[in-house]
């Protein structure tokens, strides 16, 4: 058949594709220009390096194979993979097939797409041709199987491991309709052609013969190809305005990430890449405790990013988040949504809180030069047993220390920062830094993970900062004679800020295994649940918080432990609200309970510290 015979139906496809080819580079360029000069410098330095190869590898495994979704749920992974990878293979194999058949590498782009139309009576002369014919049919089946799952998921999401499917907006529905039509129409057009010409692969030929016996195949043939082309073109035009923008943007984001570009304090072009990389797969909403326990279903990462993208973000949506990090940990695209949320909060709130100047910002007591400086933090003042346990253990281990906030009254700055009060937080950080430097201590010990994270990430301290779980793990390893194993059955609660926030999972566990019998729970490490006490959520009601707390507590006591251990005073305080049968203690308290008996006559208490006389 000759190309000029019926060339018009290819135009919807060609126009759609042309639009994409112009629109996408233009918009990506616009975003790139919005990134900082430093970011662009980073990009040009890394573009021809091994980083690009690594990025391509990740693009392959995430954008096409969807490895992370597979890990979340194999059926869901298969659905995403069959659509993405299947379509990708259809393009690649189709192009190869056409090139082999026409012996022309530069055939027009629509030729492989509508190959069957142009060469309907093509019967492969050799094994190679037969192989391609069969392969293309297999790939079509592969994609159609994924599509069936996708349609099924809309109605029965639980089957694919999802509590519910995400809610769509109009551009999504339009694009989705075109997308769902593409492959059934391709199958219809190819089948009808096979039926009319009595030639084709095992699948299309058999279905084509069946169709031809029932329908006027010859008359329907051209309309079917038109419909297929329109579906393709329509999808391409709708793509940049729908969630399917993620298909190409995700690949761009992976490249940028590997080239060293990071989310910044203020929204810029990189944020645009991140926002448009969200496929609204809904995995984030699925792991979100606000949704599971508190009945909040509008502020999850997927909806936040959507509202931000379409310029309809309500401040409350940005504020109603625990910053627990479960969504980012589960996100197949690795979008740092908490950072983007914080950008939005800061945009709104920063000017509403002035910088702080504390006349009383002086170091209480005598600093212990060269010793350990312990910062208890606001929350620890409400859990004095944590502070006292730390004091006891440090005294017992003969560690020279002083307490920075013994008299109370300073804040690390993180709560203000999380609310978007950036300039206020910076002023707090500056003054607290001055105090720490004046102490001339050699190490900053912190018992609150909220403080720990900000000391680690925002303060530029010349001394190491250690969370007490890490410090005591090292202490117990150096002085094992101080502790004995109580054989008590315990479970461990990873606090959000220490676990997902700071990546400290193993040290507390190692320490606890030394002093007690640690049993696992249903949600460990990256998958740990938030206690619900989070300072980051500015919109949740106390009653909704309680629902989250109860669920988290229930799973911690499910293995019937003697007590639950956490390493955050905020988590402890949150869990101790109301009436609880099994107590929640801090890791320092667990350690204090495991101290070996003191040899009595050696020490007397003098002033604030135990001193050795012998």
């Amino acid at each position: 058949m000759n190309l000029s015979d019926h060339p018009f139906f290819v135009w919807p496809f060609v126009a759609g594709m042309a639009f994409l080819c112009i629109y996408l580079p233009a918009v990506y360029l616009k975003w790139l220009r919005k990134t900082s000069a430093r970011d662009r410098k980073k990009i040009s330095a890394a573009i021809f390096s091994v980083k690009t190869i690594r990025a391509i590898r990740e693009i392959f495994s995430e954008c096409l194979l969807h490895r992370r979704i597979f890990r979340f749920n194999p059926t869901l992974g298969y659905m995403h993979m069959s659509l993405a990878f299947g379509w990708f293979l259809l393009i690649v194999v189709g192009k190869t097939e056409t090139m082999l058949y026409t012996r022309d590498g530069f055939n027009p782009p629509y030729l492989p797409v509508f190959f069957k139309y142009f060469y309907p009576d093509h019967i492969p002369a050799n094994f190679k041709g037969l192989f391609f014919l069969t392969l293309m049919d297999l790939l079509l089946l592969f994609v159609l199987s994924g599509l069936t799952l996708a349609i099924f998921k809309r109605f029965k999401s639980k089957f694919l491991g999802m509590k519910k499917s995400t809610r769509h907006i109009l551009p999504d529905r339009i694009a989705l309709t075109f997308l769902w039509l593409i492959f059934p129409l391709r199958w219809l057009a190819e089948s009808l052609t096979s039926g009319v010409y009595n030639a084709g692969g095992f699948f299309t030929l058999s279905s084509g013969r069946a169709l031809a016996s029932l329908l006027p195949a010859e008359q329907l043939l051209l309309p079917a190809w038109w419909a297929y082309s329109i579906a393709l073109g329509g999808f391409f035009v709708a793509l940049p305005f729908s969630r399917y923008m993620h298909i190409f943007t995700e690949a761009a984001l992976i490249l940028l990430k590997h080239w060293g570009v990071k989310t910044t304090q203020r929204a810029n072009g990189y944020t645009d890449f991140e926002i448009h990389s969200c496929s609204r797969c809904g995995i984030c909403a699925n792991v979100c405790q606000l949704s599971a326990d508190a009945g909040i279903n509008h502020s999850q990462a997927v909806y936040f990013l959507r509202d931000l993208r379409y310029n309809r973000l309500q401040p409350e949506t940005a504020e109603n988040c625990l910053f627990c990090g479960r969504c980012s940990a589960a996100c197949p695209v690795d979008i740092q949504v908490d950072d983007i949320r914080l950008q939005q909060r800061t945009n709104r709130a920063n000017r509403c809180a002035p910088a702080i100047r504390r006349p009383a910002a002086q170091l209480p007591g005598t600093p212990e030069t060269g010793g350990v400086l312990y910062f208890a933090g606001c929350m620890t003042h409400l859990t004095p047993s944590v502070k006292e346990a730390i004091r006891t253990i440090l005294n017992r281990a003969d560690v020279k220390f002083s307490i920075l906030d013994e008299a109370g009254g300073i804040c690390c700055g993180r709560p203000a920062m999380q609310a978007g009060f950036r300039q206020q937080a910076e002023s707090i950080i500056q003054q607290t830094t001055e105090m720490i430097l004046r102490s001339e201590a050699s190490l900053l010990l912190v018992s609150c993970p909220i403080c720990y994270k900000v000391f680690n990430e925002e303060y530029q301290l010349p001394i190491p900062v250690k969370h007490h779980s890490v410090f005591f793990k090292e202490l117990a390893a150096a002085k094992p004679e101080l502790f004995k194993n109580s054989r008590k059955r315990i479970t461990y609660h990873d606090s959000c800020e220490l676990g997902r926030g700071s990546g400290i999972y193993e040290e507390p566990r190692e320490l606890l295994r030394r002093v007690a019998h640690l049993v696992p729970t249903a949600h460990e490490r990256e998958d740990a649940l938030c206690c619900g006490g989070s300072l980051a959520n500015l919109a949740i009601s106390p009653a909704q918080r309680d629902l989250i707390t109860d669920t988290a507590y229930e799973q911690l006591i499910a293995p019937a432990p003697d007590y639950v251990v956490t390493s955050c005073p905020m988590c402890k305080k949150t869990f101790s609200k109301g009436k609880r049968d099994i107590p929640v203690v801090d890791i320092a308290e667990a350690l204090q309970m495991a101290l070996t008996p003191e040899e009595k006559p050696v020490r007397v208490k003098v002033g604030k510290k135990a001193e050795v006389l012998a």
């Binding site: 003042h381 409400l382 859990t383 004095p384 047993s385 006292e388 101790s576 609200k577 109301g578 009436k579």
Partner: protein
């Protein structure tokens, strides 16, 4: 009135009273005097309930031991069957009777059951910010009561009288953070009474009361409050204490807001006394579950006819009295015990009538 001849035919009807506190004993005495057979089950070694741990009673500061002795004397005079160190494990309906199984495995049947299981004191360690169980000089009102005997020697610090003592009101009451939204009623006046007793022992000691509201509802309470101000110079500061910490010398520093002054207040005291509230006894939940008794929001038993028949429960033949129905003072518990006894007698009379 109820003591007519129907018992002459055979064995008198039997009533089980669970709990030998003031409410349970008062009820048992009333029942016994009307010719009903009574067995009182008590988990402790001796009768009297919380009264045993109390030094003096508000509002007159009458010695608790005297009241308890009178009660015990009457119990022995009336030859009431008192089963101490016997915990009731289960109460199950059995025909028109109730079977009571004790922790020793003994089983007996009764015509009616009166629950007078009382209350438990709020565990002050749950308000961690007050430091109870962490700092030695943070004590509860119950702990203070025991230190008030023998001229208050239990309060001396290194052999010297205390300089300053502070009371914290509403510990474990009116506090949604510990799940107790209700008022425990008796702590306000207890704080006032204990403050006076400290001043009696140590006139030089400064006594502070930190309160949210002072609820002096009972007869003689307001007068006691006034006496504390006028005669004893007890200082009342309107503000709830938020946290306490221990100083190097063992004294306790507390933080509150003096809300009437509108400024934060900080004070170092020798003793910090937490006026702990009342919670339903844990076993109340047990009864509620096994017998299907209704409890109110706070977990105390509640009557389906709370105005006219406060001792009734949702189970016919099971009655309640005393602090298991909600925070109550001693005179209230006594009245409730006696009132419940009347309800039991009415029930027995009806049952007897029906059985004829």
């Amino acid at each position: 009135m109820y003591q007519h001849n129907r018992y002459q035919k055979g064995k008198p009807q039997q009533v089980a009273v669970v709990g030998a506190g003031v409410a349970g004993l008062s009820a048992a005495l009333t029942l016994k005097k009307q010719g009903v057979g009574v067995v009182v089950f008590e988990k402790d070694e001796s009768p009297g309930g919380h009264l045993q741990q109390w030094h003096a009673l508000f509002p007159d500061r009458e010695p608790a031991a005297g009241v308890l002795d009178l009660l015990k004397q009457e119990v022995s005079e009336q030859k009431i069957s008192l089963r101490t160190q016997t915990e009731v494990a289960a109460v199950t309906p059995s025909g028109d009777k109730f079977r009571i199984e004790t922790s020793q495995g003994e089983q007996n049947e009764f015509d009616a059951v009166l629950l007078a299981t009382g209350f438990q004191l709020f565990d002050a360690a749950r308000k961690e910010e007050y430091g109870y169980g962490i700092y030695q000089r943070v004590i509860t009102s119950a702990g203070l009561e025991q230190r008030l005997g023998h001229g208050g020697t239990g309060l001396t610090v290194n052999g010297r009288p205390p300089h300053r003592v502070a009371f914290v009101h509403c510990v474990g009451s009116r506090d949604e953070k510990v799940g107790n939204h209700y008022c425990s009623k008796v702590c306000c006046v207890t704080g006032v009474k204990q403050a006076i007793t400290i001043k009696e022992h140590f006139p030089q000691c400064e006594v502070l009361n930190f309160y949210m509201d002072l609820r002096m509802f009972g007869t003689g309470y307001e007068e006691l409050y006034r006496e504390a101000q006028e005669k004893w110079g007890v200082m009342f500061i309107r503000g709830r204490v938020s946290e306490a910490s221990q100083m190097y010398d063992g004294t306790i520093q507390l933080k509150a807001e003096d809300t009437l002054m509108g400024r934060p207040v900080r004070a170092t005291v020798d003793w910090l006394v937490l006026l702990v509230g009342m919670e339903p006894e844990k076993r109340a939940q047990l009864w509620a579950r096994s017998l299907g008794l209704r409890t109110g929001q706070a977990g105390f038993f509640s009557s389906p006819e709370k105005f006219l028949h406060p001792s009734l429960t949702t189970v016919n033949g099971v009655f309640t009295a005393g602090a298991c129905t909600g925070p109550a003072s001693i005179p209230e518990s006594v009245s409730q015990g006696r009132a419940a006894a009347i309800s039991v007698l009415e029930f027995l009379a009806k049952k007897d009538e029906a059985g004829k």
